[in-house]
């Protein structure tokens, strides 16, 4: 659940209520939500706005936890890379849509690639028909199915795969 934090604004003495949400990022060796996949011992620095940078080292599960408000961007320095982290506005796309499936696979680390645009079928409703547009998405679906018994491995995100995907994201603290 979002937390409502009262913070003092530099512009005046009045108090403003800002809706900040917890964001958890896991650096992992492999996709999925198995804690033993976590990468321990990565040094990181997080900078949010003008606040002083916060440094840390990833624990055994590779988790970094942030609290962000709408429109805020956190810069995460880790692994020699910079990640610009923000809250996803508008929530996830429906799991029955191709882009909704891609979003959830990406949340779990299966790397389905960039979300398809509506023009390329991103909003198409998936049923028995495979509407994948690229190998990354099909591979990600097949790998997710392989990891989630008893799904049938066919690279097609039918309703059983969609349901399991939604469940996996919920269990991973994603939605």
């Amino acid at each position: 659940m979002p937390e409502n934090l009262a913070i003092s604004r530099a512009t005046g003495a009045e108090l403003a209520t800002v809706n900040r949400q917890r964001v958890r990022i896991f650096f992992q060796r492999f996709p999925g939500s198995v804690a033993s996949s976590g990468i321990r011992g990565l040094d990181f620095t997080v900078t949010i706005g003008d606040a002083p940078p916060v440094t840390g080292v990833t624990p055994a599960d590779g988790k970094i936890e942030l609290r962000l408000g709408a429109g805020e961007i956190a810069t995460l320095d880790i692994l020699g890379s910079k990640y610009a982290i923000s809250l996803l506005s508008g929530g996830l796309h429906p799991v029955a849509e191709l882009r909704g499936v891609q979003q959830r696979l990406n949340i779990l680390g299966y790397n389905a690639g960039a979300l398809e645009t509506p023009a390329l079928g991103g909003t198409a409703v998936l049923a028995t028909t495979s509407l994948n547009q690229n190998q990354a998405t099909e591979l990600a679906i097949a790998n997710f199915q392989a990891d989630h018994k008893p799904l049938f491995i066919d690279g097609v995100a039918g309703s059983k795969t969609q349901s399991r995907l939604q469940q996996a994201v919920q269990n991973a603290g994603g939605a």
């Binding site: 079928g121 392989a146 049938f152």
Partner: protein, 409 residues
Amino acid sequence: MPIVKAIHKSERIVPVRFARAPDANNPSVSSGPYDPNAPEPDDRGFLPHTTGGAVLPVGLNEATALAARPETRVRLIREDIEDAGALFVTLESATAVAITVPTPGTALPNTREMMVKLRAVASGKTHLEVRFGSTTGPIIHRLQVVVHPLIDVRVAGHVPTINGVPFINPATLTPFPAQSTRTDASIRALVDTANVIYFPYGIRFVLDALIDRVGVLNNFKHQGMVDDESTEFNRTTALNRVQNTVNAYFVPQIADGTVLPNGTVRNPINRTIGVATSAKTNPINFGLFVSDIAASGQVIAHELGHLLNIVNDPTNEFLHINTKTDPAIPGTGRVVRDDIVTRRRLMYAFTSLRRDTTPPTRPYRDDVGYGDRTVGGVLTIKQLDNDKTDQEVKDVRKTAAGLSRPPGP
């Protein structure tokens, strides 16, 4: 440019992954022909984690001096990490393989795709570890490496003469010949291709120096044709047979005697390019056939897989090519395996891929890493809870070890 992440509550970031390296020098190349030194990691799924994610097979010819052994290569791809990060590769144990590229102790290049090369040292397993920052930095990814020492399997080649009623080839309006038109050189080339595919799994087929061309089979139904669903199969495999050995028969045509639902027999012409029976379940008359229409060495490699006791499909799941919907199986859970992971298997039921023709077409499926519309050469290594095509390498090596060796020099 930072990597942009708009996150809904949580996200798992897996920075890198391994992939097949078809080109010997360019790690950006993602597709290319079968290569004994470019095996495909078995990366079906990521559980159980005890396997360390993907598994890379490496062949070992112990008769070759260590320094002269070929380098096995694999690509490392930065999937969710910038190119600037310093990455190193190390080995959990150096007893099975040695790292030759990059030079031990040096960082991988700051590019999206990177090449890693290994040299087989001895039979065994280890993990190739990707570390960040230094050779002692945190491990951010792992690849299990399994080194397979070569098992030599003797192959007795036969080109029999098959006498029967002449069967007219409608394409040429002439009868099929009684004997295969393949030369010894072309047969050896097929076996050579099979060996390219099997090297990472530690199996080498050794064709006898003399190919038997004197055998004659009389009173077959059709000239130059073996009906593999009749007694003709066993009559052929008994011809000049070398016991407990791969007897490979090269014939003009293999008849497909399948009776269709309307009662007619399926057109026998140019349909079946190869067939084989398992040495494990048919120890008396096992053998393999390759017809003259088989153009690729992948065909004989596939049939040798059957002979070594692995199947297309343990559960009759490979029913269609490019099937998008199956009216007989409404809803989800289709009983169809035609995903691009499956298409990389040597034992995929079809020896060529067809393009999607029904919109929306999926051209990305035409090349699964071995060239346009070419099936892969992968034998599975991993054991998964959810894939019955598991552990083919284990079965193949066990069966191969029970067959006779090539005659000594």
